[in-house]
């Protein structure tokens, strides 16, 4: 009886989400970082571009800095993802341990699902 009151508090309709409202990638997805070299400062270090990694966590959505940073008041939010890339993938000939890895947060516009 108590439980039903909790259920009743939730909306009984299924809401349609706008495009981009939910994260398009999930934990465990294998992704590649885009290889693009747009003019200007982008927060995607060149050493990870073109590299393959795995989504380790979805970070709460944040304002699109790539629009805002160039003076466009986009008002749009997008997702950052914490991506895991083995150091052996980043650096051929890496002499540390094969389990050693990088973790880096990358904005969704730079990630391609494989």
């Amino acid at each position: 009886m108590q439980d039903s009151s909790i259920t009743a508090a939730k909306p009984q309709v299924s809401l349609l989400k706008a495009l981009g409202e939910d994260p398009s990638l999930q934990v465990g997805d294998v992704v590649r970082v885009s290889v693009r070299y747009p003019v200007g400062h982008y927060r995607v270090p060149t050493y990870v571009r073109g590299k393959q990694g795995t989504i380790e966590a979805v970070i709460a959505p944040a304002i699109n800095n790539e629009d805002e940073g160039f003076g466009r008041n986009s008002g749009l939010k997008g997702y950052y993802y914490r991506v895991a890339i083995p150091l052996t993938v980043l650096w051929p000939g890496y002499t540390g341990q094969p389990t050693d890895g990088l973790r880096i947060e990358i904005f969704e516009t730079w990630l391609e699902r494989i």
Binding site: R43, V44, P45, Y47, I59, A60, A62, N65, Y80, R82, L87, L90, W91, T95, G96, Q97, T99, D100, G101, L102, R103, I104, E105, I106, F107
Partner: protein, 210 residues
């Protein structure tokens, strides 16, 4: 030293502030003056923010770590949402950054870096050390972390995974070092005294050098 026409005696050490401003310094001054002139920010606000930043030191982070060691509930909340747990602990965040706390274990050692610039968990540690902002550390931390750690006097066993977190945007990282053995009866204050800046960046462990 040449003769002075004033009487008091003092050494003439060149003050870096007296050197001619560089290109970016001039640009910063110009932008700052414009922002003030157009009344977006006031001079007092800038001074105040410098004071706010200077009030943050590694002693704050050490208290967070000690509290996490002493209180398992807080430790869980800190690992789940670093910012929320720090705010609960009384540490305000004056910016829009998130905080991910990375726990060192006997299987994983975390190291933090910002290869693009100098992103650093300033709200809990204050300003970063100069080497953290310098290119050698930024370039090498992601490429040969074990060699870098060795140079800091920190040897990580081969069976321990090294995770380097490169801070690029809205997230800041803080390493939660391993609590040393034999500290079971320590108070939080005694625990906090063990925790240094470098252990929270990950270039050292609590046991690296006493």
């Amino acid at each position: 030293m040449e003769t002075h026409d004033h009487s008091h005696d003092h050494a003439h050490i060149e003050n870096p502030v007296d050197a001619a401003p560089g290109y970016y310094e001039v640009m910063e001054t110009a932008v700052r003056e414009l922002l003030i002139e157009k009344q977006f920010i006031g001079r007092g606000e800038i001074r105040r923010q410098i004071e706010v930043i200077d009030s943050r030191t590694p002693a704050l982070g050490a208290k967070v770590v000690a509290h996490a060691w002493a209180d398992p509930g807080f430790r869980s909340r800190l690992l789940a949402d670093g910012r929320a747990a720090c705010e609960e602990f009384g540490i305000s965040f004056y910016d829009d950054t998130r905080l991910i706390v990375l726990e060192n274990t006997h299987k994983v050692h975390n190291l933090i870096v910002c290869t693009l610039c100098s992103c650093y968990p300033r709200t809990v540690l204050g300003l970063p050390p100069d080497w953290y902002k310098a290119k050698p550390y930024r370039a090498r931390a992601v490429k040969e972390p074990r060699a870098v750690l060795t140079e800091f006097g920190t040897d990580i066993p081969d069976d321990v995974e090294i995770r380097v977190s490169d801070s690029t945007a809205i997230v800041r990282y803080l390493v939660l070092p391993r609590r040393p053995e034999g500290t079971e009866n320590y108070t939080e204050e005694q625990l906090a005294a063990l925790v240094t800046r470098d252990t929270m960046i990950g270039v050292a462990t609590i046991n690296t050098v006493k």
